[in-house]
């Protein structure tokens, strides 16, 4: 039996009760309001996150910053794509693509696809940040892919 150790894309989606144009703006403009920082961040619940100059930047309670990724494609209101490397260096980045499609009357299907596990170069393993929960986990996962 052959083993394919490569990691398939991670995909998930959700339906939201507003049109794509509105959903897209809420996703980007209100990122700091809705993002679950308590469980999904580098600095924890006391931090803040926002889209700044085309990047997703988290600021910790002590003012330290962590760049989660850089927007690589933004076709409002359909596509938002960004690199993803919270808690790690950009050369370990994977890719997250979020699409917004009209679904039913006045609704939007928000679909997220996380890919790029093969892009991670070997030899970049000796970094800090693997014990920070979710972001570190992404990094470890990229290493395992």
């Amino acid at each position: 039996m052959s083993v394919d150790p490569s990691l398939a894309p991670v995909e998930c989606e959700v339906l939201v009760p507003c049109p794509p144009a509105r959903a897209y703006r809420l996703f980007v403009d209100d990122l700091g309001t809705w993002w679950p920082l308590g469980t999904h961040s580098v600095f924890g619940a006391e931090g803040a996150v926002a889209v700044t100059d085309g990047r997703l930047v988290e600021t910790g309670p002590d003012g330290a910053t962590a760049v989660w990724g850089t927007i690589t494609e933004a076709v409002e209101p359909e596509v938002l794509e960004f690199t993803w490397h919270p808690g790690a260096e950009p050369d370990t980045a994977t890719l997250v693509r979020v699409t917004f499609a009209a679904a039913g009357p006045g609704g939007t299907r928000v679909r997220l696809v996380h890919t790029g596990w093969q892009a991670r170069p070997d030899g970049a393993a000796a970094r800090a940040g693997y014990d920070r929960g979710w972001p570190g986990v992404l990094d470890a996962l990229a290493a395992a892919a």
């Binding site: 083993v3 394919d4 150790p5 490569s6 990691l7 398939a8 991670v10 995909e11 998930c12 989606e13 959700v14 339906l15 939201v16 009760p17 507003c18 509105r22 959903a23 809420l26 996703f27 209100d30 309001t33 809705w34 993002w35 679950p36 469980t39 999904h40 928000v110 997220l112 996380h114 070997d122 393993a125 000796a126 693997y130 014990d131 979710w134 570190g136 986990v137 992404l138 470890a140 996962l141 290493a143 395992a144 892919a145």
Partner: protein, 109 residues
């Protein structure tokens, strides 16, 4: 051996740089412990120990081909981690949906 992999054990096992290097090397195919040790800055006993941790976590499996003992990646390991990650993104999207519902509800006349 169980095919059910606890994603937390797998992620814990991947928290070590040497073990990540072992996993990365095994991506290209099965290897004996000697070949792994030759390519790593740690000795053979240490590599054996790391392989045991990876095997216990369900990430690596061991096969004997004649007198050769080979280690390879176990497919269930990445699957378990991927499922865990999908659940994390699911949580993020759910948080977004909650925000939209809250916001839209508030803006209704």
């Amino acid at each position: 051996m169980s095919n059910i992999v606890d994603p937390h054990s797998a992620l814990d096992a991947l928290g070590d740089p040497t073990r990540r290097q072992i996993v990365e090397r095994l991506r290209h195919g099965p290897l004996p412990v000697g070949a792994l040790a030759a390519a790593l800055p740690v000795g053979r006993p240490a590599v054996s120990k790391h392989l045991r941790v990876l095997a216990d976590a369900g990430l690596v499996r061991h096969t004997a081909v004649g007198t050769r003992h080979l280690y390879s990646l176990a497919p269930a390991g990445p699957d378990a981690v991927r499922a865990w990650l999908a659940a994390q993104w699911g949580g993020v999207l759910e948080a977004f949906a909650d925000h939209v519902e809250h916001t839209e509800h508030r803006s209704q006349p």
